[in-house]
């Protein structure tokens, strides 16, 4: 009986093997990345149109080799890079991402001081940006690729509620709150929005704008009276925001749909709002606080995975740093050059709005540059989460800033200790691990 069983099992397998064979024919897989010779993975330009535009830029400006461009979220990238570098079987040669995306990858990146730093200097990349590329360590892990910041987009309809005497191009935190309150009352429903969705970048507001503007620092002034005051401001401001904000990831969508009229966000996440009718919009610098105008720099960088083809990758990176490529990226995808490049006088209208706002922000009196957290490695995500938790407990759950914030200080210190991270701007760089103040 056993023999018969196996026999007809073989028959069964025979027929199904035929089916399986058709599958196996295709089992080598069909390439979904465009099939270039050299693969780049990136967390940037993920929206479908931006990606298509960047693929055009790549084919136009990169001649070394044909580069395929695969986008993924930062966590996916972390998984891909760590598992591929770990197994020594690399499917890609170049990594593009924001400073914060590259941070947890540091151990898996090639040191590129020799291969690229001189080239980068020659292209005119500022020293402090190059310093960021060390990710808090001794050696250069990434080369700056492009930069951006966060500003406010304002639908002109909202200007009528602007507090008297306020200049929309130089607002203070106080005026923003007054404005939001007046607009909410006059309109009958909130007019301001805040990117507090799951993919929103609201934690960057606390880290790079609110705290530096109110306290002059972030970590060293974490639980100072000024910090508590700033969170009280945030609580009051939130009360005037559209409560749907907890679902907003990219502010350009609720802005474009008219759900909200004023919002702060990353320039690349605002550019879609004025796209169709730029005349209805203004873009203005982030507000100024008691200590000045704190703003966070967004830096995108290019890195080479450990064990990758450094030579080819370096050639490609060199082409990324050419002024023409950088200008094309600005014109099409709203990221600003890091190299010295002459900005054309005629930019697309939406880009022009952003360009002016970013320039005004950087040139403002009392500007305080805040860097994204440096040297945090894998703790980067958890540090951001602490700020998100502060927001949730103070604004959503109605907690008192005076009790919530001191309760989080210890958590922040633990993270810094684990990562052995020194302070970064705007906190004064000192010796040893950064201390929560």
């Amino acid at each position: 009986m056993k023999a018969k069983l196996t026999l007809s099992r073989r028959a069964l397998f025979g027929t199904s093997a035929a089916v399986a064979a058709t599958g196996t024919l295709a089992a080598c897989g069909a390439s979904t990345s465009g099939g270039g010779d050299f693969a780049m993975i990136s967390t940037q330009f993920t929206p479908v149109e931006e990606k298509q535009r960047f693929e055009e830029i790549l084919s136009e400006h990169v001649s070394t080799t044909s580069v395929s461009y695969t986008t993924m979220t930062a966590p996916e990238m972390l998984t891909q890079v760590t598992s591929q570098v770990g197994s020594g079987n690399l499917q890609f040669g170049l990594i593009g991402g924001l400073h914060g995306d590259l941070q947890p990858l540091a151990e898996n990146l090639e040191d590129i001081d020799e291969a690229l730093v001189e080239t980068a200097r020659a292209a005119g990349i500022a020293e402090d940006l190059l310093e960021l590329g060390k990710l808090g360590g001794e050696t250069t892990k990434y080369i700056p690729w492009m930069q951006a910041s966060y500003v406010m987009a304002v639908n002109k309809k909202a200007l009528e509620w602007l507090p008297e005497g306020a200049d929309v191009n130089a607002l203070t935190y106080e005026q923003v709150l007054e404005w939001a309150t007046a607009a909410n009352e006059a309109n009958g429903s909130p007019v301001f929005g805040f990117p507090a969705g799951p993919k929103g970048l609201y934690h960057r507001f606390f880290q790079g704008f609110q705290l530096p503007s109110f306290t002059g620092g972030v970590i060293t002034t974490f639980q100072s009276p000024e910090a508590i005051e700033s969170w009280q401001w945030m609580k009051d401001f939130w009360a005037q925001c559209n409560p749907s904000s907890t679902n907003y990831d990219f502010m350009q969508e609720p802005l474009a749909s008219g759900e909200v009229l004023v919002a702060w966000d990353h320039v690349a996440r605002l550019v879609g709002a004025p796209q169709d009718n730029p005349d209805d919009w203004v873009m203005v610098p982030s507000p100024t606080g008691p200590q000045g105008l704190g703003y966070m720099l967004v830096i995108g960088g290019l890195a080479i995975p450990k064990g990758g083809d450094v030579e080819t990758a370096a050639q490609v990176i060199e082409e990324f740093l050419k002024p023409e490529m950088q200008i094309a990226t600005l014109e099409k995808n709203a990221f600003f050059p890091v190299v010295e490049a002459e900005i054309p006088s005629e930019l697309p209208p939406a880009i022009q709005l952003e360009f002016d706002a970013v320039n005004a922000q950087q040139g403002a009196d009392g500007a305080i540059v805040a860097l994204p957290p440096v040297g945090l490695g894998e703790q980067d995500g958890e540090l951001s989460q602490v700020f998100k938790d502060c927001f949730a407990e103070i604004c959503l759950d109605g907690g008192d800033p005076g009790t919530v914030i001191p309760g989080k200080a210890e958590q922040v210190q633990t993270l810094l200790d684990t990562a052995e991270a020194s302070c970064w701007d705007p906190d004064p760089a000192g010796d040893g691990v950064c201390q929560v103040g």
């Binding site: 199904s16 399986a20 089992a27 069909a30 979904t32 929206p47 990606k51 395929s68 996916e76 499917q91």
Partner: protein
């Protein structure tokens, strides 16, 4: 034994005319109620699909209107075209089909025999075995996929449809085994025994008697397997890189795109599944159309 339909009403039935009409009227009323219920449920099931369809074929500005029109007022194929023209959609569809069919075949080959064993045989360790199956399905896919990615990278299965097939088979085996076992359970054992008495070998009895009866149910389980694989995104994203399946590709292409594109991508993913169910509907229909005895 016979019975008169009016016995339920007992003594109330005096005039012969009423006896005939009341149950009939009630019957008609019931039929109408059943139709009404069916229509309401159908609306609940279909209207959301209709809404995403008109969203997917609206202009981006049209989606910003309020109130939203419930008919295709701002018809446009722009977002859909942009989505379909983005790199890799065709290749991803091909990969998804490969993975789906591969999973279906592998899961049925490995799973159906086990389902039969559970339905027909008492063996030691049956309950632990069934629990073990469920156990595997209860582990979140993220935690499952990352160690697998490392194993696949080391063995060369990474970024290959076969790797995703293996994961998806593992994910759908518990369901395949459970569904097929309940299908085999519903095939009367008498029929099989009769075949055995008339000289069939166990295998012959299985192939000639049990399998034909169980086939519609197995088809249903296969549909479920295919659909599970077609829609699975978390594991596929981790196990592939440049040979992505459709949902993984859609997620990476559209995850951060404006909502108009996401509607287009969502619909583009739903349509093939609707067609697939339409083709396999016959089997699903057979399932209650044929009675076993």
């Amino acid at each position: 034994m016979t019975s008169r339909p009016d016995t339920e009403h007992g003594t109330a039935t005096t005039a012969p005319i009423e006896v005939d009409k009341r149950p009939l009227r009630r019957h008609q009323f019931n039929r109408a109620l059943i139709q009404l219920a069916c229509i309401l449920i159908s609306l609940f099931m279909v209207v959301p699909i209709y809404l995403i369809t008109i969203s997917a074929f609206s202009t981006r500005q049209g989606l910003n209107e309020f109130p939203q029109p419930l008919w295709p007022k701002n018809f446009s194929t722009e977002t859909m075209a942009t989505f379909l023209n983005s790199t890799g959609i065709l290749a991803a569809t091909l990969n998804s089909l490969t993975v789906g069919i591969g999973t279906l075949v592998l899961a049925s080959l490995v799973g159906a025999p086990a389902g039969y064993a559970i339905a027909r045989f008492a063996f030691r360790g049956k309950d632990p075995y069934q629990l073990f199956l469920l156990f595997t399905r209860a582990l979140p896919i993220v935690v499952l996929s990352i160690p697998l990615a490392q194993v696949f990278l080391a063995t060369g299965l990474y970024d290959q449809p076969i790797g995703v097939i293996l994961l998806h088979t593992a994910l759908s085996l518990p369901t395949t085994i459970l569904i097929t076992s309940s299908v085999f359970l519903s095939v009367p054992i008498d029929a099989e025994e009769a075949a055995r008495i008339f000289g069939c070998t166990p295998v012959g009895a299985f192939l000639r008697v049990v399998l034909p009866l169980a086939l519609p149910g197995i088809a249903a389980s296969a549909i479920f397997t295919f659909v599970t694989s077609w829609n699975e995104v978390l594991g596929a994203t981790i196990l592939t890189f440049s040979n992505r399946t459709l949902p993984a590709q859609v997620l990476s292409t559209l995850g951060d795109s404006p909502v108009a594109f996401r509607f287009a991508g969502g619909l583009a993913m739903i349509i093939p599944s609707i067609i697939f169910i339409a083709i396999m509907r016959k089997y699903l229909l057979n399932m209650w159309g044929t009675t076993i005895r």
